[in-house]
Symmetry: C2
C-alpha cells in the first residue's frame, strides 16, 4: 500500500468573501498528504526553501509522511501563491505567484521509494511529473495525475508525454474542454482517452465530480454546505482522498473508483470549511465516516418506487 | 390522481449552436403536459390565440390532456418567444417576447377541475398563479410552482402571496439566490422555507438538481449527454416528470419526492435531445424505464467498500 505523492509544498495568502489569511502553509502535495494519510502512509516528493516551517515538516512526519523525497534548499524561498476568491468561489484571481524553489525543481526519487504501487502526481510542470515516472524502475499499479490549463497553454508537448503514461487524469470541466477541444464532457472524455488515460475525473467544485471510464460514467455530488469558507486545496484534497482510498484497498476496479471519488468528495467538503489545511488537521475517522454517510443519504433513492 | 397544470402554451423560435428552429409549439404548460401524461392524465389551464395549431390541441387531447380550461381567443395571437443559446447552454439571449394573449390572461378553473389533488403552476405572472389557487374550493394535496427572476424584479408582492400558499417551489440556483438574498444554497433554502414552501427544488441544468426539505437535502445528477441539442423546456419537462410521478403514486413523502426528481431529471434528459417537444412525443415507457436505470447506475456506489 505504498503511495508516492509528488507536488508543491508552499505558502499561500488567501482572500475570500469571508476573510483573509496570513501567509499560511499550502501547496498541492501538502493538501494531498494531510488528506491521504487518513487512509495510508505517504512518501512525499517535493521541494521547499529554508523558510518552510520545521514544525510543518515534523507534523507531516508524525502523521506518516516519509519526507526523504523532499528537498530543502536552505538559502532559497518556498513557492508562494496569493489569490482572491469572489462570491461564487468557482473563479479566483491570482494576485502573486513567486515560483522560487519550484522554478528549478529537479525531483529525485529515493531508493526507498522504489517499491511504490500508487503514484499521485499533483499539479506541477509536466516535465517534473514525467521525470518522476521515468525514475521509477517498476511501473506502479496506478498512476494518477492532476494538471491545469496553464500547462496546456505553455507545455502541451510535455503534457502529452505524461498523459501517455498515466492511468487517471483529474481536471476541472473547463480544463477537460480545453484539452480535448470538445464542449460536451462525454465527447471530451472520449478524446482524452485517446491521449493515454483510461479513467477521467472531471471536478466541478460545488457541482460535484464525474468519473468516466470506457463508456461508463459515475456522478459524485458535492455536499451542499452552509458556507464554503476557503476553496483553496479542495481539488488536491479530493485527489488525496481518491488515491488514499485506492492505495488502502489496492482495488482499482471501476466500482472501487466510484467509492474513491465519494471519499475524495467527502474529504474536499471538510477542506473548504476553514482556511488552508486547518480543517484537515482536526478531523478524525469518525468525522470522515459520518460525512461519507451524508453522501449516501444525499444520493440514495428508492428505485423500487418508480 | 387528478393533476391541474397551469402555464403558457405558445410558439418558440430557437437558435442553438447546433441549429435553428422555425416557429414551433412551445410554452411551459405544453412541455409539462407532454411529459406528465406519461404518468397521469392532465387538466390544462392556459390561453392560446386563433393561430395555435388545431392538430396540437388534438394531439394533446388524444394524449389525455383535458383542454376544458384552455381559452382560445380566435382573433388574437398566441404568446411568442424567440431566443438564442450559446455554447454553454446555461445562458440564453431573448431575441423577441410577444405576450399577445398572455398579456390579459384571466384563468378560469372549470367546475370539472375542482376535484384536483395536484396543482402544478408553471412559470407565469404570480397574479395568474394566485387566481387559480383562489378559485379552487378545496386545497389540493400538493401545490408546486415554478417562477423566474423576472417576477422577482417586477411583481415581488404578488409572488410573496403565491409563495405563502404553495408546498413546493422550483427555481434555478440564481433565482434561489435572488429570492433569498443568500449565496449559500443551504441558507437560501432556509430563507425560502420562511416564505411558505416546505420543499425547495433547485434546478442546476447540466449540474443536476437539489431537493431541500427541513434540514434534509437530496442531489439528483443530470445525465452527462453527448449533445444538449435544445435546452428549451427542460425545466418545464423536469417539473412535468416530478409532478406527474407524484400524482401517479399519490405519495408526497420526502422519499417519494427524491424518486420524483430523478424521474424529472430523466424526462428532462430526453427533452434536450431534439428541438422543442419533439423528443417527448417519441419516447415510450420502455425508453423512460431504461433512462431511469441509467440514473441508478450514474449515482450508485458500494458503501460497504468504505
Amino acid at each position: 500500500m505504498s503511495l508516492i505523492v509528488v507536488g508543491s509544498m508552499a505558502f499561500d495568502a488567501i482572500e475570500t468573501p469571508f476573510g483573509k489569511s496570513d501567509k499560511i502553509v499550502g501547496g498541492a502535495a501538502t493538501y494531498i498528504a494531510w488528506c491521504a494519510t487518513n487512509f495510508t502512509p505517504v512518501k512525499q516528493i517535493s521541494v521547499v526553501g529554508g523558510d518552510f516551517p520545521k514544525e510543518e515538516l515534523k507534523a507531516l512526519s508524525a502523521r506518516g509522511v516519509d519526507l526523504d523525497g523532499v528537498q530543502i534548499k536552505k538559502d532559497e524561498k518556498s513557492f508562494f501563491w496569493s489569490g482572491k476568491y469572489h462570491m461564487d468561489m468557482n473563479t479566483r484571481d491570482t494576485l502573486v505567484t513567486e515560483l522560487n524553489v519550484l522554478g528549478t525543481f529537479q525531483p529525485v526519487v529515493p531508493d526507498s521509494f522504489q517499491d511504490c504501487e500508487f503514484l499521485m502526481l499533483g499539479n506541477l510542470a509536466p516535465s517534473v511529473q514525467l521525470s518522476v515516472i521515468e525514475q521509477l524502475k517498476t511501473k506502479p499499479k496506478l498512476i494518477a495525475m492532476d494538471t491545469m490549463n496553464f500547462w496546456m497553454d505553455i507545455a502541451m508537448t510535455d503534457l502529452e508525454k505524461v498523459l501517455a503514461k498515466v492511468d487517471v487524469l483529474l481536471v476541472n470541466d473547463s480544463e477537460a474542454r480545453q484539452l480535448s477541444g470538445q464542449y460536451s464532457l462525454v465527447k471530451a472524455a472520449a478524446e482524452i482517452f485517446k491521449m493515454g488515460p483510461k479513467y477521467l475525473i472531471i471536478k466541478k467544485g460545488e457541482h460535484g465530480a464525474l468519473l468516466f471510464h470506457d463508456k461508463k460514467v459515475f456522478y459524485a455530488p458535492a455536499l451542499p454546505l452552509e458556507e464554503v469558507f476557503d476553496p483553496t486545496g479542495a481539488g488536491d484534497t479530493f485527489a488525496g482522498g481518491f488515491i488514499g482510498y485506492l492505495a488502502k484497498t489496492k482495488d482499482i476496479s471501476f466500482e472501487s473508483m466510484k467509492t474513491a471519488i465519494i471519499v475524495g468528495s467527502a474529504m474536499a467538503s471538510f477542506s473548504v470549511e476553514k482556511f488552508g489545511t486547518q480543517r484537515l488537521r482536526e478531523i478524525n475517522k469518525t468525522d470522515i465516516d459520518e460525512r461519507i454517510q451524508e453522501f449516501v443519504q444525499l444520493v440514495n433513492f428508492d428505485i423500487s418506487l418508480v
